[in-house]
């Protein structure tokens, strides 16, 4: 599904150059749930940006669902992002004055679906995250966990090949974090491929594969048996 070979990403300023990723190799197969961990500044976000085609890379090869992304135009990268990737952000990134329906609708608009097909997909995605009855709500009328579920619905509506989640529970309390994680596990069990950047070691251990990045390189690659989510209930 996702193949990165020898990827390097270098940020240059007038006086310094920083290797955010160096000789980075990673293969993720369809249906996997991969947690990416590492300390701040280790290159996790850069990896996610490159994987999500939000940023380019300087060396190496990257193919997503069999398509090599090297040398693709902005239009082609945008189409690939739209069709194959679903993003889940730490800050949810919902447009505050758009209804839930319109927020989920956004990626579908750029896909060129007709209104009937968009409606079907939005309703299905909102149903998947348990918010079907709230499509006319504004984000501000929902809790943080519900907002993140809307963001997940937005990511799911395009039926992407892979979900990229950047600390999806980072802004949530433990109960809501658990609900979101349950949702992600459920989606993974239904066949979604998920790569999740997280600081939470418990969450990382809960998924079936953990990749640790330090100084732009993978330093640990652990594979676990699937297990239940060890998130504690609030007192």
């Amino acid at each position: 599904m996702l193949k990165m070979n020898n990827i390097s990403r270098i940020f240059r300023s007038e006086t310094i150059q920083t290797h955010a990723l160096r000789n980075f190799d990673l293969n993720v197969s369809a249906g996997e749930f991969v947690a990416v961990t590492g300390p701040s500044g280790s290159g996790k976000s850069t990896f996610l940006n490159v994987a999500g085609l939000l940023d380019g890379f300087d060396e190496g090869d990257y193919s997503l669902d069999g398509v090599s992304v090297k040398g693709l135009s902005d239009d082609e990268l945008s189409r690939l992002r739209n069709e194959k990737i679903g993003f889940i952000f730490q800050n949810y990134n919902l447009i505050p004055d758009f209804s839930i329906f319109d927020n989920v609708d956004m990626p579908l608009r750029y896909r060129g679906f007709n209104s009937k097909e968009r409606k079907r997909r939005i309703e299905h995605a909102l149903e998947q995250v348990g918010l079907a009855s709230r499509h006319n709500y504004l984000p501000s009328q929902l809790s943080g966990g519900q907002q993140q579920r809307v963001a997940i619905a937005r990511a799911l509506a395009g039926e992407p090949k892979i979900l990229l989640a950047d600390e999806p529970t980072g802004n949530l309390d433990s109960l809501m974090a658990r609900q979101v994680m349950e949702l992600l596990f459920s989606l993974n069990q239904q066949g979604s491929t998920i790569i999740m950047v997280t600081h939470d070691s418990d969450q990382a251990r809960a998924v079936n594969r953990n990749v640790q990045i330090i100084d732009g390189q993978i330093t640990d690659h652990s594979i676990y048996a699937p297990m239940s989510i060890p998130i504690q209930q609030p007192a």
Binding site: S45, T46, N49, G52, L54, D55, D74, D75, S78, R79, R81, N82, E83, F87, F89, Q90, N91, N93, I95, D97, F98, M106, P107, R109, Y110, R111, N114, S115, R154, G158, D166
Partner: protein, 430 residues
């Protein structure tokens, strides 16, 4: 089409979300465009061709027949003596010829019970005036005899005296004399009034009364325009055989051969006067076509041109201001731009969305600019009162206003839009 509707919907949401910003921006640009439009409407009236279908075939006749060596009169004069004018009219070379002078009278409907008289501007002229100027008749025709007590009246006077309608056959009383109305003109605006473009009269309304020249002289209707004489003149009719210069002449010459023949006719006439010792100056006669004649009379006011330049610069300042505002606006919208890019919008998609938004702002700006331009035009007219009757914002100018508004908004938005679309994606969202 669906995306276009989506972009319009997004733009409307943006307007509602940032109403203060958009009001400020639209007002900034509308003021710039409005001032420019008001100025253009005046310049257009000043610089327009009053008779485009034949302006290159209608010529003012300027002769040099001054009887003594006065360096002030070495250039050909646009005003002619009666005898010079009559000589021109004798020629059968021009397709049409006219001579005229301006006067004014008080007129009333002879049948009216009221003794109130209306002030009326008079063009004392010859029958050729009407075909040469293409004066539009609503009723009747020109007079047929040069000494007939007959008039053609303009639409405004017809309204005042007779309440409009077909007034042919009615009588107008002027200074106790009755004049038969033989023709009534339709509303007629010449922009500028080329047949009397000198002496700052180019933007006056067309006249109320058109009367036979001989009748006007015999009636002693005063000469209400530039007049130069070498002798004392006691009355209008006294000008016929004296060196009194006041008549203006125009001819219609339809081809180069006609023009050359007529120029030769004029030069021969001047030469014959010179040979007879009636004027000592060099032969110097000129035929100015309508546009050259308007230019020679500085019909386009230099102050207006300077003001025009200032309004263009002012619009440029407005564009820079709007552009700065838009940079701030797109900076503020980075999050949404980044998000849209992340979920699959290409740079092209965002650019098109920006263009649609610009178009909508441009149309709003055009509507406001149209209203403001009318207000600014009224203000301008207060500085240039002689333009009151002709300065107007016509459909062509309104269309131009829309084009300028949309273009200025587009150009104001272009740089901020390009910057917004090319910003690094990963920096914008977390």
């Amino acid at each position: 089409m669906e995306m276009l509707i989506y972009y319009i919907k997004l733009s409307c949401r943006n307007f509602a979300r940032n109403s203060l910003f958009f009001t400020l921006m639209i007002t900034t640009l509308a003021v710039g465009v409005g001032v420019l439009l008001a100025n253009l409407s005046i310049l257009k009236s000043m610089a327009s061709d009053p008779i485009p279908e034949k302006s290159d075939r209608v010529f003012n006749v300027s002769l040099n027949t001054w009887p003594n060596k006065n360096t002030l009169h070495e250039q050909p004069l646009p005003i002619l003596r009666y005898q010079d004018a009559m000589h021109l009219l004798k020629s059968d070379i021009p397709t049409h010829s006219l001579v005229h002078y301006a006067s004014s009278v008080y007129a009333r409907d002879s049948e009216s019970n009221s003794l109130s008289r209306f002030s009326a501007s008079v063009r004392a002229t010859t029958q050729g005036f009407f075909p040469l100027t293409d004066a539009p008749f609503a009723y009747g025709t020109a007079w047929q005899q040069p000494n007939a007590l007959e008039l053609v009246i303009g639409d405004i006077l017809n309204q005042k005296l007779f309440g409009g309608g077909n007034s042919v056959g009615k009588n107008v009383e002027i200074d106790g004399k009755l004049f038969l109305v033989v023709g009534v003109l339709k509303p007629w605006k010449l922009k500028p009034k080329f047949y009397h473009a000198s002496n700052g009269r180019a933007f006056n309304l067309t006249d109320d009364i058109f009367a036979p020249l001989e009748v006007a002289l015999d009636s002693e209707w005063g000469i209400g325009a530039q007049q130069s004489s070498t002798v004392r003149i006691s009355s209008s009719s006294d000008t016929r055989n004296k060196n009194s210069y006041y008549l203006q002449a125009f001819v219609q010459l339809d081809n180069a051969q006609q023009k050359a023949s007529f120029q030769n006719y004029l030069d021969s006439y001047s030469q014959s006067l010179k040979d007879a010792g009636q004027h000592p100056l060099d032969i110097n006669n000129k035929l100015y076509d309508v546009n050259a004649w308007l230019k020679k009379n500085n019909v386009v006011d230099d102050r207006m041109l300077a003001f025009g330049l200032a309004t263009v610069l002012f619009l440029a300042v407005c564009i820079f201001n709007a552009s700065s505002l838009l940079i701030a606006r797109y900076h503020g919208a980075k999050f949404e731009t980044g998000l849209r890019r992340a979920v699959g919008a290409s740079r092209k998609d965002l650019f098109y969305q920006g263009v649609v938004e610009s178009l909508l702002i441009g149309i709003s700006c055009a509507l406001l600019a149209s209203v403001l331009s009318w207000i600014f035009l009224q203000l301008s007219i207060s500085f240039f009162p002689h333009l009151e009757d002709i300065a107007e914002i016509d459909n062509e100018l309104l269309l131009l206003g829309v084009v300028i508004s949309v273009s200025t908004v587009f150009f104001s938005a272009l740089y901020p839009l390009i910057r917004s679309c090319t910003t690094s994606l990963s920096a914008e969202i977390k």
